[in-house]
Symmetry: C2
Subunit: 340 residues, 2 copies
């Protein structure tokens, strides 16, 4: 097609060029690509062939100027390569695409100051919604988002009671059940392994476990150490298991911590899991099911979370009643806890 030689790596073809080639008005082109608009079959055909020949694609940036919705949803995340964040990201992008939205991923790279920049990006691109997977954006920025008609959805963080929509998992219930698992297995010396991140869901699990133990008259050793990663679990094991009185039941607030803990317990302390030591995790990342671990844990309801988020963005649920929800994390029984 010699006629295309004009676009020599220059710029995108516009609706006007398509109109010229098809011999119709620019409105006709616009209507052809708008559902429910009135176009005759003849012109539609002319437009479509011209568009095909020129490689035309509607400019969603310009469309976003006119329409109320840009179709963009920003996902703010740190440690995106962590198994559960990766799973969350994968699930969210998939569900968003199913309702014709597209995900813009903003990586805060663990840097807490970057969260603010991330939320600003969200506003710059006129995103329909901001979904915060990790990090704590300043309240003033959240207000700005909401004032501008943008939806804000927080996953697993309940710092702000007013404003954003929030989806939580029931950390308390799971942590209490973890304690019961250990008790039924006959354990009497308890420990909790957490990280120094101090996010709401992590501390929620920790305090609920400690509370349940205290109610039953037991003490709990708590280790909060390092980032929420495999090595931290391993190092926590070194700290806990070299003591004179070892714990026999360890609740790790994250699977990643649990796997690190298990490996250190087995390979450097030669402990038998579950006979000498019981371990329970949280998240149910794929690795927890691998033959080397068979970790008993609680399933993060990723699909359900994504569904709820998409529903909240579409605005199906409007009332303050559906402003937030809490989903339950069901236990996944494997072999890291002694059968009763």
């Amino acid at each position: 097609m010699a006629s295309r030689s004009r676009n020599q790596g220059k710029s995108f073809t516009s609706a006007r060029e398509v109109a010229e080639r098809a011999g119709v008005s620019r409105s006709a082109v616009s209507r052809t690509f708008t559902d429910g608009a009135s176009v005759s079959a003849a012109t539609r055909h002319k437009v479509l062939t011209a568009a095909e020949e020129l490689g035309y694609h509607v400019n969603h940036l310009a469309r976003g100027l006119i329409r109320e919705s840009s179709g963009i949803v920003c996902l703010i995340v740190a440690d995106a390569n962590t198994p559960n964040h990766a799973k969350m990201l994968e699930t969210l992008t998939r569900h968003l695409q199913a309702v014709n939205k597209v995900a813009m991923v903003i990586n805060t790279a663990g840097d807490h100051e970057r969260v603010e920049r991330a939320v600003r990006q969200t506003l710059h691109y006129r995103a329909d919604a901001t979904v915060v997977l990790s990090g704590t954006p300043p309240a003033s920025l959240i207000d700005t988002c909401i004032n501008n008609g943008q939806r804000v959805i927080l996953i697993n963080r309940d710092e702000y009671k007013k404003g954003p929509a929030i989806v939580m998992v029931d950390n308390q219930r799971a942590a209490r059940e973890a304690f019961l698992m250990f008790r039924r297995a006959g354990c009497e010396k308890f420990a909790v392994v957490s990280s120094s991140a101090g996010t709401p869901s992590l501390t929620g699990r920790e305090t609920a476990f400690v509370a349940a133990a205290k109610e039953a008259g037991f003490d709990v050793s708590v280790v909060r150490h390092g980032p929420t990663a495999y090595v931290s679990g391993s190092e926590a094991a070194h700290m806990l298991l070299s003591r004179a009185e070892r714990p026999t039941a360890v609740f790790c607030v994250t699977d990643l911590l649990a796997l690190g803990f298990m490996d250190a317990a087995r390979h450097t302390f030669a402990l038998d899991i579950p006979n000498e030591l019981c371990v329970v995790g949280f998240d149910d990342i794929p690795e927890a099911g691998w033959d080397s671990y068979r970790l008993t844990t609680f399933r993060q309801p990723v699909e359900e979370i994504a569904e709820w988020v998409v529903g909240a963005i579409d605005g199906k649920q409007q009332g303050a009643a559906a402003q937030s929800t809490v989903l339950s994390a069901e236990p996944v029984w494997r072999q890291s806890v002694r059968p009763r």
Copy 2:
């Protein structure tokens, strides 16, 4: 601020509103947020305070209409929750943000037909570049992208010689070195475990290993089974290790396959790695370094790939010389291969 009552969750504040409030022209607002534009300190200050009060953020969608660059880069990926894809995603978003670009993630969800839709999204949003992490877009669409002035970058797939920029890792060299590792360890019965995905890099590793073995006068059992996942490695182990003549050296074209293979070999066949069986993987995902595995493997040069991709997008390297590159995957020595 009563003046903001107009924006009751309606729409975003525009530069005009800021101009009105600051008592300046709309151009002044625009120039305030444009680097190198001529604005006096006084008006800049007035604009900035007004913008702050109104929560104004420049509309990058509209800016993308004017400027040659939208600042958006689309990442097309399948199986984003797989460890190495997640790592790649995390690294790319981080590097892109460092040069003031933002990543739009399009999940093809493994569906090969969705790759076409994904690339179209890229065009719809006038992305500066399309980065394909997995999947094989139709050649015609790639042409459309390039004709519209969009850069196309393929990672680890060399189907198209002409047009897109390509960054590869040196699969051949790594696979040949894997064979040498085994030989130095004294192994004589070889196998390759791959998946049925048949992507260029996977088959490249497989054929290079087989070729190296053949040159040395050895035969290789090849298993191509299932998706590129942990279970497939496990199932491949069941297939290979229940034979009368077991292999003593297994090259798994992916760490995930290798870990599944190792677990099955140890836990259901009670084999001692590395004494009875040597295993080498590829990618160096974090799990490969865990104490339960200590897998000897080849490091996917993720950071280097990301750097090169960003460079290719910025257009630093223009000539056909830098149209493609091949980075080497260095060996990571751990304990899954017998020392000589």
